[in-house]
Amino acid sequence: MYQSILNFKRARYLWVALALSIVSIAAYWWHQPVGLPNGGTWLGYTLGTVGAMLIVWLLLLGMRKRSYRSNMGTVQGWTSAHVYLGTALLLVGTLHAGFQFGANVHTLAYVLMVVVIVSGFFGIFVYMRYPNLMTYNRSGDTLDGLLEKIHKVDDRSRRIANTPNLSRLVESAIDGCQIGGSWWQQLSGSGRSIMSVPFAMDPDAQEKAQSNKDHKLVIDVLANRLSQLGGGEEAGAVTSLLANFAAKQTLLRRIRRDVQIRAILKIWLYFHVPLSFGLLAALIAHVVVVFFYW
């Protein structure tokens, strides 16, 4: 029923790409140009035209993906073809160049093409691997749902805190807890968590902001506090708070992992897409230049 983009319609475009590759290789093998194989022979021009059209078509996926009314195939079909024909482009481009490289605009286009394709391979890899991990990590919840839970846990903590010091501790831990953040924080699955410990609980800390990474500090401080208290109302509150922050710790880990997986699923596009446009520019330059100094 469900098919991944690699299996789309029994890997229809794999066969198309293979056919294109085989034809290209056969033509290259059969072709005996004057001099070495290069872009300037008739086969070179042919492969170059095919390659350029492929590049433009591959770029059009961005348009097709957003042309929601389009009935020109399905986006999945396009993506499947994008993957396979993009891979075939590697071969077509290389044969077009006739394995001739140098420090010039032509090789720049080639290198950009290779980098774009390789980043695409990474994209396929993450698309194959991470959706599962994301599902397992979220285990039926949604990101909004998890955030909501955090919010509720925080509210509860605020209500439970029954001394000024506990309140300040809780407030500080909640305020200092950052979820998400910069692209690097999202990708690394970290998030800056800082807090300051009220003077009464830890005079050494001087109420300075300290790292509360993974909510260890707040849990440590609460556990400490509990060990100091013999019992009474505050002890009950601290016990509840400990449970609360432990719950929050677990939730946070899941949220951060979720954010991380989402970021991994997207980060490659931040290379793939801009480099594609770089490639387009290099391609335009390449084509103009080739005919400018014909």
């Binding site: 029923m1 789309f8 957003r66 009314r69 009935n71 999945q76 993506t79 959706p131 909004d144």
Partner: protein, 798 residues
């Protein structure tokens, strides 16, 4: 006690028109309106709502103006009209009882005063009045019975009274910017939908909303200390509790008008909630001197009601004028091969079929006006096999026929009808019907037919009998003449089962065979002390045959997924059928074999059964077209939502992330196009339709944004949305990133009109649903519940 010649109750379009016409004629009259404003239903339309004046060809007969325009424009025109005609309207005059007889009626009002009248015109509609707070202070200024836009209120203390969906939605909607408490007469929220229940309980536990359980309103007092407007005194098990409050919103439901109307002595033909009182052709009810017009009389359109108001006054005056819809009939009958007057044709039509026998002429008139009477060229396709259309056909003259492979043509002659299968089952057409020679047919839309079935018992009976006969014939004995089945049909009964009700259970004795005609069932087996779903059966499938052929002990439990109706055949009946059709036994044995194979497969994959139970539990059993997402493929790009928004006026009708998941199959919040759509149940402008391919969609032009469908949908797939402003082109966004991108939206200033939006499965797109087409990884797929078995097979398959 003041006395009038004519008392009009209810100031809807019909009532106002009647009163204004009476005023115009200088008759002694009064118009009694329970609320402080006229045209209650139309007042509830959203601001700026464009109201159509349909049917456009129907001439208007009323002293009041009515042409299409905004809600405000129309209300203003009526206001003007009543002023200029000097209509005597009394607001706040809720009628609680009527005594007396023609010429001397006494009308009792809620405030205790009485009004006398010779004739009474009832124009109270079908919406009913909102139930008022049963305590002193219920009429205070800031006590209201509806809420249009929660965003209008800020920083107030608001009490919501009620425990239904409307109350919960209002409370949650207001809680963001106001201090809200909810007053629940019971100790739980039993009547609410699951989603709303979750919403309110979490809001209460989070402290966002305060809840008074087992609390009844005692009284509302003006607050002398000025801290708040009022003090709302509640009586609770622990005594009275005063609550300072600025505004009270009571959502206690509406009082259905039927009881009130019945208390006036007017009779209804049956108990169906949709039944309408029987009226004469002059709108007079069984109580002489008491007339019914407008929606309560079966005429929901504004223009019709206004015309009736005019006509009914004329009738009371003794003028037998021709109804205003006369020209419509002249037009509708144009092209028919009859040289007869409109009334003669109507009579000819009504006499054509036994199904029309029990209908009173007034209702029939309306019925024919809703229907399409036409002469069809021989060979025309009247309905097409596989389509989801659900209109109903009666042959008036000539014939229509179906082609039965191997049998020949089956002809429908004068008075015969067809199309009842799709009408009743909510499923695709099972055959294509072609027009024969000289074919004249009446084609009636579902809504009119449902109204008719509910109003006239004989129609239901005739249809059911035909349904059973044809279902048995086509399913079991296609080669046997109809006449031979009469006995079996007579011994067959229809059984109705609620959702999740067991039709029979594993191990019990039983030898009846069920053929599903509405709903769907699943077959469940005990395996290792666990229930395993082994098959899913929609309409048209039969089960229980193993009990007949075997030793009479059920080998599985069959459970209704949704409200289900079956045609139940006794063992004897079934054996009779097998005797009549020599090939049937073999066929049934092969059917059993096929099912056993599927069941064995499902039993071998208990996880598959769990997945199936999950899908059924999500209510997908009553769907016809369900969006499912494979979580192993979904990368969370939300392109499906963007595609939905982009192809549907900027509002996505699906929420990908929300919704439940099981075994990597995710059920997003998205319409599953139920066989019997809950949303269609109560749509005042009849804006929700089913397309020929089964897509349930909302006609945006017609939608008045009342939110009934939103509340009626058990799956939360309908929402009220404003129309976003037009966006720059895609290329513009791709290059500049300015403005909302795909899936994003911005609203124009002052845009306030909200309308209900839901998935229409992209019925107008030849390529199919945009969400599926736009999914880059193939994670989104639309399935028919019948395909769930394949899905399970592909998930856990061998």
């Amino acid at each position: 006690m003041e006395r009038f010649d004519i008392a009009v109750i209810g100031s809807g379009p019909g009532g106002m028109s009647a009163a204004a016409h009476a005023a115009e004629l200088g008759l002694s009259h009064v118009l009694l309106e329970g609320s402080p404003k006229h045209s209650n239903t139309i007042q509830k339309y959203q601001k700026g709502k464009h109201v159509m004046a349909t049917p456009t060809k129907l001439p208007l007969r009323s002293p009041l103006d009515f042409a299409e325009g905004t809600r405000e424009y129309i209300l203003d025109k009526w206001e003007e009209g009543m002023t200029s005609t000097n209509t005597n309207i009394q607001y706040g005059s809720e009628v609680t009882g009527i005594d007396g007889a023609k010429g001397d009626f006494t009308i009792t009002l809620a405030n205790g005063s009485k009004v006398g009248a010779k004739s009474i015109i009832l124009g109270i509609g079908v919406q009913g009045n909102p139930r008022k707070l049963p305590c002193p202070g219920a009429e205070l200024e800031h006590v209201q019975y509806q809420l249009d836009d929660p965003d209008e209120y800020n920083g107030e203390r608001i009490a919501i009274v009620g425990a239904g969906d409307a109350a919960i939605e209002n409370a949650v909607g207001l809680a963001g910017q106001n201090k809200v408490c909810i007053i629940n007469r019971r100790d739980e929220f039993a009547r609410a939908k699951q989603g709303n229940l979750d919403l309110i309980t979490s809001s209460i536990s989070d402290g966002k909303i305060e809840c008074f359980y087992e609390a009844n309103p005692a009284r509302i007092e003006e607050n002398p200390s000025d801290e708040s407007r009022y003090v709302f005194v509640l009586s609770t098990p622990t005594g009275e509790v005063p609550v300072p409050i600025d505004r009270i919103i009571a959502r206690l439901g509406a009082i259905p008008p039927r009881k009130l109307v019945e208390s006036f002595g007017i009779e209804f033909p049956n108990d169906s909630p949709a039944a309408l009182p029987e009226l004469s052709s002059q709108y007079e009810s069984n109580v002489p001197g008491m007339y019914v017009i407008g929606a309560l009389g079966g005429y929901p359109l504004i223009k019709q009601a206004m015309n009736q108001g005019y006509e009914v006054v004329e009738y009371i005056q003794g003028n037998d004028i021709e109804p205003a819809d006369h020209p419509l009939f002249v037009e509708a009958f144009d092209g028919l091969p009859y040289d007869k007057s409109v009334d003669e044709i109507l009579e000819y039509l009504q006499n054509s079929s036994p199904i029309y026998n029990g209908i009173n002429p007034l209702n029939f008139r309306e019925f024919i006006l809703d229907s399409k009477v036409s002469k069809r060229a021989p060979g025309d396709e009247l309905c097409v096999n596989g389509e989801f259309t659900n209109s109903f056909f009666v042959v008036i003259d000539g014939n229509a026929f179906v082609k039965l492979p191997g049998v020949g043509e089956f002809h429908f002659n004068r008075g015969d009808f067809f199309g009842e299968q799709s009408l009743i089952s909510g499923r695709r057409r099972t055959a294509t019907v072609y027009a024969g020679d000289d074919c004249v047919v009446v084609e009636t839309p579902r809504r009119s037919m449902v109204k008719l079935i509910n109003s006239v018992d004989s129609v239901k009976r005739v249809l059911d009998e035909a349904f059973i006969l044809r279902a048995l014939h086509s399913k079991f004995t296609p080669n046997t003449a109809h006449a031979e089945l009469a006995e079996v049909v007579a011994n067959t009964e229809l059984r109705t089962f609620d959702a999740n009700q067991d039709i029979y259970t594993e191990g019990e004795e039983g030898d009846e065979v069920h053929l599903i005609r509405i709903g769907s069932v699943t077959s469940v087996k005990q395996s290792n002390n666990k229930e395993v779903i082994t098959s899913y059966m929609p309409v048209g499938h039969y089960f229980g045959e193993t009990g007949v052929l075997g030793h009479g002990v059920r080998t599985d439990t069959v459970r209704a997924n949704v409200r289900t109706e079956t045609i139940c055949l006794s063992k004897d009946s079934f054996v009779t059928l097998m005797d009549k059709e020599p090939g049937l036994q073999n066929e049934i044995q092969s059917h059993i074999r096929d099912r056993l194979t599927v069941e064995a497969r499902m039993e071998a994959q208990p996880k598959g059964g769990e997945l199936m139970s999950f899908l059924m539990g999500e209510g997908l059993g009553e769907g016809t077209d369900v969006l499912l997402i494979d979580e192993t493929l979904c990368v969370g790009c939300d392109n499906c939502e963007k595609a939905c928004a982009e192809t549907h006026d900027g509002n996505s009708r699906l929420n990908r992330e929300a919704g439940a998941s099981f075994a990597d199959v995710h059920v997003p919040i998205s319409c599953r196009h139920c066989e019997h759509p809950h949303c269609m149940k109560d749509c005042p402008p009849d804006a929700i339709h089913r397309a020929s391919d089964g897509e349930v969609f909302i006609d945006q032009e017609a939608c008045i944004g009342c939110g009934n469908c939103v509340r009626n949908c058990p799956y939360d797939v309908i929402s009220l949305q404003k129309n976003p402003a037009p966006k720059p082109t895609l290329l513009h966004w791709l290059m500049t990133g300015k403005g909302p991108g795909p899936g994003g939206k911005e609203y124009a200033d002052g845009e306030t009109i909200k309308k209900a939006v839901k998935c229409d499965a992209c019925k107008d797109n030849a390529g199919g649903a945009a969400c599926v087409r736009a999914c880059p990884t193939g994670a989104a797929m639309r399935l028919n519940p019948k395909e769930f078995v394949d899905l399970v097979g592909s998930r856990f398959g061998s």
